[in-house]
Amino acid sequence: MIRLFMAAVLLASAAPVAAQTIAITGGTVALGDGSDPMPGGTVVVRNGRIVAAGMNVPIPQGAQMVDARGKWVTPGIVAGFSRLGLSEVDLSGGLTDDKAESGPFGAAIDVAPGINPSDSTIAVNRADGVTRAIVAPNVARSIFGGQGAVIDLGADMEPITHARAFQFVELGETGGNTAGGSRPSAYVLFRNALREASELRRYAPSLTSSGVGTPDARNQPVVRNPNESRLYGPDAQRSDDVLLTRFDAAALVPVLQGRQALLVHVERARDILNVLGLRRDYPALKIVLVGASEGWLVTDRIAAARVPVIASAVNDLPASFEQLAATQSNVGRMREAGVNVSIGMIDDNDTRYLFNERQYAGNLVGLTNVPGATGVRWGEALAMITSRPAQALGLGSELGSLAPGRRADVVVWSDDPLQVSSNVEMVLIDGVQQPLETRQTKLRDRYRDIDERVLPEAYSR
């Protein structure tokens, strides 16, 4: 059955795949926008984009047909917060690119050149239906980790969907430690960093609108990408007590302007409120909360601030004094209060276990049957690992659902994807069918029958 299905797909892949039209028919289709799954739906893909998905979708002439009867079809999983592609082996496995312990830069770091699309971590997660990921660097010497990217998990050499999609900052316990030993210290560092960014000449005119300038184009550059870490002439002139490198200060200009999202990791309820309060001083900040284990204690405030949350899904242990109130009902309670919640994996094997996101989403559904707990409806749970994280970064019109015009990241599953026993049968990224073979599947096949009578295992591959 599976083999027949795959044969049909292989046939389809003979043509230039991205440009072609594919119709996936007969499966239970879930759009990833929070709606319920629809049995017997159709998904049509053309030129790497979704054309249509749902019931009564006309099938274009000449489309490659994929029979998904008995199967489920959803958008690919968007890993809400990860360090995917930055490390092959974390512990004494050589250089990892998730942080620079002794480097001079913080906010200026751009994670993009560190992402290796050939990492086995990417292949393993792709084979489990993860098609995009929000990738952030870890902090090292600064409360600012640097600028994260949104990537695709396609089997090609171009993983970056959006470089410098956000800045990442730690303002909870980790931030306090990084800032020299306290949270208050972290907040001073944060405010000072934004002050230094505001002092940069190329930003100052928009604050004062005085029009002061020189005819020298280098001093009034047209900043197409305010975060390309280049400085011109007078931008080198700053206060004497600067703490940031010039590149770090420049990197914070788009944060200050609200042109780049600011992902802030905090867990404690009071820390969440402190972060929301930053907008009194810096109204343009486009804040996204990450972690937020105690978010349920202050749901009304988060909802009122209209700040999205990329939460850890099932934290329920008082793992630290900033997570004393952790509960698996956290996500459900925030969602009920109207907060835009998605699921991320911060500090939770965020380098390689993104495939667990659907397990977490399933667990949130399971909570709906536990008296006293607050869970999440199935459709919403799927949205939390597909469209919601994309929306949190302002990419909802591009990624994370099967709505027309979205990038065609589509997964065909053997069954309900929130059941961990379901398997992936086909993955499209930008409409391109992806290989599902990994080191793991090859090792499995090599050793599934141990037999050294003829030749050692090293000769089977």
């Binding site: 599976i2 092959e88 082996v89 974390d90 512990l91 004494s92 496995g93 086995s120 971590t121 393993v124 309820a269 105690e294 204690l297 099932v314 329920d316 242990l317 008082p318 793992a319 630290s320 004094f321 997570q323 004393l324 109130a325 952790a326 509960t327 698996q328 009902s329 094997n349 380098t351 390689r352 276990y353 495939f355 397990q359 399933g362 667990n363 559904v365 399971g366 909570l367 049957n369 536990v370 008296p371 006293g372 707990a373 053997s414 929130l418 059941q419 961990v420 026993s421 379901s422 398997n423 080191r439 793991q440 599947t441 090792l443 499995r444 050793y447 599934r448 141990i450 295992e457």
Partner: protein, 466 residues
């Protein structure tokens, strides 16, 4: 027990010499004093439970059996009957309608650090690794266990875990003694100790010991250093055991006690079971040879990420493998992890089980097995759910030496029972009730049957559904 011919020959030589000594000074030998092998005895007692009959549930008995519309009856802490719909229910039994629900033995986690690495994970409570020397068999995990660790109650309520082994960490080649606990809230660790469970010895091979001590420019710094230190330690233990065997037989002056060697002697005598942290196939093979060389048996490898490469060897040595479903790649010795490991081991006839090593993972071991079943099915290896439950209760009970008491629903065994609100291999399923020795210690519909640890009392979220 694996015997050691060299050791036996050496002991025989000692015995042959004895009559001469005995005839010369027969009255000077004081009779041997027995050492107390259980100085921190269990004070666990079963809590009161009602005579209970669960009916119309799907039953996995833990040994591979399945009964649809089954009946499970327990009272006085023991399983009284298990059977089909026609199983007679005793008068006065409290009946639970299990329609649409599942009954299983309680889950047993063979590898946990709850209490030794509790929540909150602050330095003051970090009590899992006595990383002051690579050889520390003298430490006992039970002396670190903080019974107020909230992790225990999460494992009970979300995980359906009724028994667990607490191990010291893996910084050391010899990490110390483990302890097996019943997952009941208690004021003292003795109040949790599983009555009659043998002790375990945590050993480790591979990267952890060499990293921890190598970074201190101390042996072992390499894998060969690991093995050299391990062998040298066993040789000392053999000598120690010879002294004590002689004393226990003939009396005389009591040899000086060495707590470290006491533990190793217990292993050589077959009273203490070896739980060996080891990832790579080649290293496990070396440890199996080492065990033969020194005259002990490895009960189980833990973390055995590459066990699938030597399933035949594990089977031949009667050594179990405790593994994760999908952990891999976080260090080099975990790089070859595959998601079908457990299934391939089982298919090869080796004794295999799931384990957590994690305060979060222990809450979802049923789902971890569900993952394995899914990946196995995808690789055309079909394993039934009732068979897979062996990986969650019966096989861990075997590895802990308690399968005569718990681990499956058999008449006369402890009534360690979980009623699940749906198929426990569904992501959506949760424990509805958990009984330990027949006492109802968790019921999702009853907020009073939801333990709150001292640590959580008066904290935000106290008594919440966690």
């Amino acid at each position: 027990m694996v015997s050691n011919k060299g050791l036996i020959a050496a002991l025989a030589a000692v015995v042959l010499l004895l009559p001469g000594c005995a005839t010369e000074q027969p009255k000077k030998l004081a009779p041997p004093v027995r050492v107390n092998l259980d100085p921190y005895p269990s004070t666990y007692h079963a809590y009161p439970g009602a005579l209970t009959a669960i009916r119309n549930a799907t039953v996995f008995d833990g040994e591979g059996g399945r009964i649809d519309r089954g009946t499970v009856i327990f009272g006085d802490g023991k399983v009284i009957a298990i059977g089909g719909a026609d199983t007679p229910v005793p008068q006065g039994a409290y009946e639970v309608d299990g329609t649409g629900k599942y009954v299983t033995p309680g889950i047993i986690d063979v590898h946990s650090h709850l209490g030794d690495y509790p929540s909150p994970g602050v330095p003051a409570l970090s009590d899992g690794n006595e990383a002051t020397s690579p050889v520390r068999p003298e430490v006992w995990a039970e002396h670190s266990v903080w019974p107020q660790d909230p992790g225990f109650s999460r494992a009970l309520m979300n995980g359906g875990v009724t028994t667990l082994q607490i191990l010291p960490g893996s910084a050391n080649l010899f990490g110390g003694r483990s302890v097996t606990l019943k997952n009941v809230p208690a004021r003292t660790v003795q109040g949790m100790k599983f009555p009659g469970a043998p002790y375990g010895l945590k050993m480790a091979c591979g990267e952890n010991p060499k990293r921890v001590y190598g970074s201190k420019s101390q042996m072992p710094q390499t894998r060969m250093g690991n093995i050299a230190v391990t062998r040298a330690t066993w040789i000392k233990a053999q000598a120690y055991k010879r002294k004590w065997d002689k004393y226990n037989k003939n009396g005389g002056e009591m040899p000086e006690r060495d707590l470290a060697m006491d533990t190793l002697m217990g292993v050589l005598s077959g009273q203490i079971l070896v739980h060996n942290h080891c990832y790579r196939a080649d290293e496990m093979a070396i440890m199996l040879d080492l065990a033969k060389e020194m005259g002990y048996h490895i009960t189980a490898f833990h973390h055995a990420v590459e066990a699938y490469k030597i399933a035949d060897l594990l089977k031949a040595n009667n050594t179990c493998a405790a593994v994760w479903a999908d952990w891999w790649g976080f260090k080099m010795e975990a790089y070859d992890g595959i998601k079908e490991n457990l299934a391939l081991l089982d298919r090869a006839g080796a004794c295999a089980m799931i384990h957590s090593d994690d305060p979060n993972g222990i809450q979802r071991l049923n789902q971890e097995v569900a993952k394995v079943l899914g990946y196995a099915r995808h690789a055309a290896i079909n394993i039934s759910e009732e068979h897979a439950w062996r990986w969650l209760s019966y096989n861990p009970a075997r590895a802990l030496g308690i399968s005569d008491k718990t681990g499956s629903l058999r008449v006369g065994k402890m009534a360690d029972v979980v009623l699940w609100n749906a198929d426990p291999f569904s992501t959506y399923a949760r424990p509805e009730r958990v009984w330990i020795d027949g006492a109802l210690l968790y019921y999702s519909a009853n907020p009073r049957l939801r333990p709150v640890t001292d640590f959580e009392l008066g904290q935000p979220g106290e008594g919440d559904v966690k």
